[in-house]
């Protein structure tokens, strides 16, 4: 999949949405605070809004080229869209909703009704009225309806925002299944870090209508392009790991070449992301004994970068670990690239996110 967005300019209430981006991931997350223009961007891709200038190309098909006055009508774009409020048709049954976008001619490539209903576990709902569905059921029906139109790209606007935490945890695997079973590329708007990490492989950070950073999810989280991105992503270290055992609420996690202790997850996922905020990493020159900190990692300083009053320290601790310390602290410790140092992280400061 390749979605090319060039020269996008759309004036919104408080700022102009200006985007240059190429999205190539199976799942790309558009990440940013509320009001950053994320929904407007999806509307542009779907063709529901017109920009002042825009060039949008999906794979080898130009969808919008304002300069040449090209704009493929919404219904011919084959782009599925699940909006935040889901937009289920209240006057139609679940089945009629699901079949609304079904093409009359069923070619071999089309996604079959039975398969979608099976994967999203909605077989028992099809004869109900959409007004009698629970939040999670509505979500799955909306996803199925979009999939059944056999889209080339699926746009999801904060698909989990309206759900409470337990329901969210139930829906996330369905999104993973859509990604893996139907191979429909997805662009997914969210302001939730955990959702981004769990589902996406690429990420575009949008703040006040501008793309602040784009790249692999792990890279954006661990190497924010600037302080503003860092503020919104708020998580400096993101390292794939594996839970090897869980004991009394504590998980033993292998990450890179080291073993960490973290608070166990409620879900039984073994494959996780180990997330550590830079300010939660304590640097110590000597490996002094006698501290409550469970995780002590022998590390080497890879690089130092000033960020305002803070210094961002990249460490090699068996995996890339990022620490944020104040400038006076950095001076006092005389931190230099190549120095050995101990990185300490409290158990409660290591967040595990299923992947």
């Amino acid at each position: 999949m390749s979605l090319l967005l060039k020269n996008i300019s759309l004036p919104l209430a408080d700022f102009v949405l200006e985007v240059e981006a190429e999205m190539r991931g199976r799942v790309t997350v558009v990440f940013g605070p509320s009001g950053a223009g994320k929904t407007s961007l999806l509307d542009l891709v779907a063709g529901l809004r017109r920009a002042k200038s825009a060039f949008i190309q999906l794979n080898d098909r130009v969808l919008t080229d304002k300069g040449k006055n090209i704009s493929v009508p919404v219904q011919q774009r084959a782009i599925g869209y699940v909006p935040q409020d889901l937009a289920l048709f209240p006057h139609l049954s679940v089945r009629q909703n699901l079949l609304y976008g079904r093409k009359a001619e069923s070619n071999g490539e089309a996604i079959s009704f039975e398969r979608v209903a099976g994967v999203l576990e909605i077989e028992s709902l099809v004869d109900r009225s959409v007004t009698k569905l629970s939040g999670g059921e509505k979500q799955r029906v909306a996803l199925a309806r979009a999939l059944l139109a056999s889209p080339r790209l699926l746009l999801l606007d904060e698909p989990l925002a309206s759900l409470d935490a337990p329901l969210k945890a139930k829906i996330i695997p369905y999104l993973g299944r859509i990604r893996d079973e139907f191979k429909v590329p997805m662009i997914f708007v969210t302001h939730d870090r955990a959702e981004a990490m769990t589902l996406a492989d690429e990420m575009v950070v949008l703040v006040a209508g501008k793309v602040m950073q784009a790249g692999r999810v792990a890279d954006v989280f661990s190497r924010p392009a600037n302080a503003e991105v860092a503020k919104y992503v708020g998580m400096e270290t993101l390292q794939p790991g594996r839970v090897t055992s869980v004991n009394e609420g504590l998980a033993t996690v292998e990450a890179g070449s080291v073993t960490l202790t973290a608070m166990a997850l409620e879900s039984p996922s073994r494959d996780v992301f180990v997330c550590i905020r830079g300010e939660d990493v304590i640097l110590q020159r000597e490996t002094g004994a006698g501290s409550s900190v469970r995780n002590r990692l022998a590390a080497r300083i890879v690089s130092l970068r000033q960020e305002g009053a803070l210094v961002r320290v990249e460490l090699d601790a068996g995996f890339p670990l990022f620490a944020l310390v104040t400038r006076p602290a950095a001076t006092e410790l005389a931190l230099r690239e190549g120095d050995p140092i101990t990185g300490m992280i409290k158990t409660s400061a290591i967040h595990l996110v299923p992947r």
Binding site: A46, L48, P73, V74, Q75, Q76, R77, A78, I79, G80, Y81, P83, D85, A87, F89, P90, H91, Y100, G101, K103, T131, R145, A146, A149
Partner: protein
């Protein structure tokens, strides 16, 4: 009830229904355009459409008389090319009722369209539906109650129309006499018992129309 009274009631009922059916396509198209689109001159058209509600009906009738008369623009054209006369025939009654009930239909249909969440229409398009299919499968069904309520009130408005009708259609017994014209005429002639029977029928028709439209609009509000 005499045979003549029944004839008047039937005539009034069917010209009212016919005029509402005739304005339905135009009324819906205009209501939709007012609810969903911005265009230059929109506020002027909005005002023009509402004029028959507030102008003296007799004045509206006079305008229609001039336009549809043999020397008027439309009337002259119809007479010269099709030998088709409008004024002082039952057709003039239909014209008067159509013009007078048009604002009612447009006002209600417009609100009904505005209450349909545009997101539903947009998402229907992303599912591959053409704008026309979206209109008939999403917009119309969801706006149906409001539109039907508007139609009932438009018919009710037509049933009671007096001023414009008498100007453009006159009061020709058996040809253009409607309920209201007949009540007026009977009172003038001192035939109060006739007038009261027709009055009773008017009250019943008006009550049923308003009550059923309120029922429809109330039911709509309860939907999620």
């Amino acid at each position: 009830m005499t045979a003549e009274e029944w004839q008047i009631v039937w005539f009034t009922a069917w010209v009212s229904a016919l005029s509402t059916l005739l304005i339905l396509p135009f009324g819906l198209a205009l209501a939709w355009a007012l609810a969903r689109r911005d265009w230059p001159g929109k506020s002027i058209v909005e005002t023009l459409v509402s004029l028959p509600l507030v102008m003296p009906p007799v004045a509206t009738g006079l305008i229609l008389l001039k336009v549809f008369g043999r020397r008027g623009g439309i009337g002259g054209f119809l007479h010269d090319h099709f030998n088709f006369d409008v004024v002082f025939t039952w057709r003039a009654v239909v014209v008067a009722l159509s013009v007078m009930s048009f604002p009612m239909l447009v006002l209600f249909a417009r609100v009904a369209f505005e209450e349909v969440n545009p997101r539903l229409e947009q998402i229907a398009r992303t599912l591959g539906a053409s704008p026309l299919r979206v209109f008939f499968t999403i917009t119309m069904p969801l706006a149906a109650r409001g539109i039907i309520a508007g139609m009932i009130l438009a018919i009710a408005r037509a049933l009671g129309e007096f001023g414009a009708t008498i100007m453009v259609a006159g009061n020709i017994p058996g040809k253009t006499t409607t309920l209201s014209l007949s009540i007026f005429q009977n009172v003038e002639l001192g035939e109060d018992s006739h007038a009261f029977r027709l009055l009773g029928i008017s009250v019943v028709l008006a009550f049923v129309a308003v009550w059923s439209s309120q029922f429809l609009l109330r039911r709509k509000r309860k939907l999620p």
